[in-house]
Amino acid sequence: MSALWTNILTQICITLIAVAGVYVLTGLTGMFSLGQAAFMAVGAYVSGILVVKFHWSLWPAILVSVLLAVLLGFIIGFPVVRLRRDYISLVTLGFGESIAALLNRMTKLTGGASGFIGIPRKTTFLLAVLSAVIAIVLVAFFKRSKYGRQCVALRGDELAAKAMGINVTRIKMIAFLLSVALTSYAGALYAFYMSYVEPGSFGWKKSADWVIMVFFGGVNSLTGSTLGAFILTALPQLPFMRALQSYRYVVYAVLVLLIINFKPSGLLGEWELTDLFRKKNKKRAADSEEVQ
């Protein structure tokens, strides 16, 4: 495999981990985080700084950065999981701007707007692939667990879910924290792959990008979201697409607008790869399609 492809695939795998997190939040629970990329920034910067400036070894640094991101997620999630789902989008957006401001400001520690350089390159292709597979399998199990089903229930109707005895506040928090953990881990891998991070690459556009990927492939299907992330990350990397690089966001946006207007369930709808192996599920999926 050529170096170009290894590079593209590694980047795709890192994105897949983050998108698996966004799928838990947006696909399963119907919440939108427009500051999700800021958690990636926390993962990237904290682990990078611990390794470069404080000479920690890789894994403790990654662990601490993920734990810190989850703690931050808990602090900003705590007031808003009890409220309408709009609040989590608004608050995370504000969080993203704050993190960007902080990174730009703390120049001594973060290098400011010009970026943080000199992170050792420790993310190998194998590590990225393995992490992506584990993340996706983890989310697949989460989806089929009690928690995942409760997420889907409250996405449809919070009031009804509450009436059925689901602790809506708690489930929303669990989904949010799981997605934060995955995204910040992706951030750490990203930092140790790129060996350079800058605040500008973690803006709301990146968070919006991930949401778009999830919806492109199919918001109700983990397979679809993964596929969406794969296609939309790979496309702009291909040599013949480079010329269109500046139109990338425009093309994405047009694609998604078409999907929302004409096939709102995304490319794959409710279909999951595992459906191939179960007939019963297939029928159930078809039924729920009809109801919609």
């Binding site: 947006t26 119907g30 939108f32 427009l34 602090i75 900003i76 705590f78 007031p79 808003v80 009890r82 409220l83 309408r84 789902r85 709009d86 609040y87 989008s89 608004l90 608050v91 957006l93 504000g94 969080f95 701007e97 704050s98 401001a101 902080l102 730009n104 400001r105 996405r155 449809g156 109707d157 919070e158 009031l159 009804a160 803006g203 709301w204 556009k205 919006a208 990008d209 949401v211 778009i212 919806f215 918001v219 500046s246 139109y247 990338r248 966001y249 425009v250 994405y252 946006a253 047009v254 998604v256 607008l257 929302i260 207007n261 709102p264």
Partner: protein, 290 residues
């Protein structure tokens, strides 16, 4: 708090008020947070910049063109992004995605056209500052404050006193019932988008004058969102009060902590506020309705 901080804070707050009311209008009628608002501001301000401001015409023509193009952009957004999902009564997640996508689209188009450069509006006033006693007020701040005030008064008049405003309030209370009472709610939604877009255009131009114009200027919309949250989502008076409060706090924090940290301080304030009084100053619906 010195008088100077209060004056600067109110000037900033008046721009935030324009953003927050434009956002709240849409929230009122369609019950979703319109994340394309920021990019609409940027796009409209860029149109006004290239069509009018660089040709040396004054502030008023620039604002008129910005308002007009903001209205057009929002109308286009309603048509391609929201019309079908409104008519299908789709779940609110689709409104989110549509608005995020439209935001990406506008920002992408502006970036393609303008590059990642910074543009400054020409100086609109011959005297950059007004001195009154020991106070220094920038002329453009004063003009922005006055214009925002006039715009908001006109908006309040339209919403409270006209037939259109009554229809708008009815539709935001209950769209389906309003439709049964003979109100064309699709038309009302269109008009709401146009008004919101016009506010966005004016606010975008003001932000451009204050901080120079660049493609990601729209991210300042977050100030309007914070103001909305403090004031109570969807409440217009709340949005204005929240915006002025935010402007004052931010200016105070700027003096106390310097830039950068003031952003974090205001964000912390918002979290604290949500913890203590989640319904906002004006009180609004905070729970997900069936």
């Amino acid at each position: 708090m010195s008088l100077q901080i209060i004056i600067n804070g109110i000037a900033t707050g008046s721009i935030y008020a324009l953003i927050a009311t434009g956002f709240a209008l849409i929230f009122n009628v369609l019950k979703f947070s319109n994340f394309s608002h920021g990019a609409t501001m940027t796009a409209a301000a860029f149109v006004a910049y290239f069509l009018v401001a660089v040709k040396g015409m004054g502030l008023v023509p620039t604002l008129l063109v910005a308002a007009f193009s903001g209205g057009l952009i929002a109308l286009f957004g309603e048509l391609v992004g929201f019309r079908r999902i409104t008519l299908n009564h789709s779940s609110s997640t689709y409104f989110f995605v549509s608005s995020i996508t439209l935001g990406t689209l506008y920002e992408g188009l502006v970036t393609v056209k303008a590059g990642a450069n910074f543009f400054s509006f020409p100086q609109f006033f011959t005297n950059p500052t007004i001195r009154a006693g020991g106070l220094v007020i920038s002329t453009s701040d004063a003009a922005m404050f006055l214009i925002s005030l006039v715009v908001l008064i006109v908006l309040a008049f339209v919403i409270q006193k006209t037939r259109l405003g009554r229809a708008l309030r009815a539709a935001s209370f209950d769209r389906d019932t309003a439709q049964l009472m003979g109100i064309d709610s699709t038309r009302i939604i269109q008009i709401t988008f146009v008004i919101s877009g016009m506010l966005a255009g004016i606010a975008g131009t003001f932000l451009g004058i204050k901080y120079t114009l660049y493609p990601t200027l729209g991210s300042l919309v977050v100030k309007g969102f914070i103001a909305s949250v403090i004031g109570g989502l969807g409440s217009l008076p709340g949005a204005i009060i929240g915006a002025v409060l935010l402007g004052l706090l931010e200016t105070l924090f700027l003096v106390l902590f310097g830039s950068g940290y003031s952003t974090i301080a205001t964000f912390g304030m918002m979290l604290l506020f949500l913890l203590i009084r989640p319904q906002g100053i004006a009180g609004s619906n905070i729970q997900e309705k069936a």
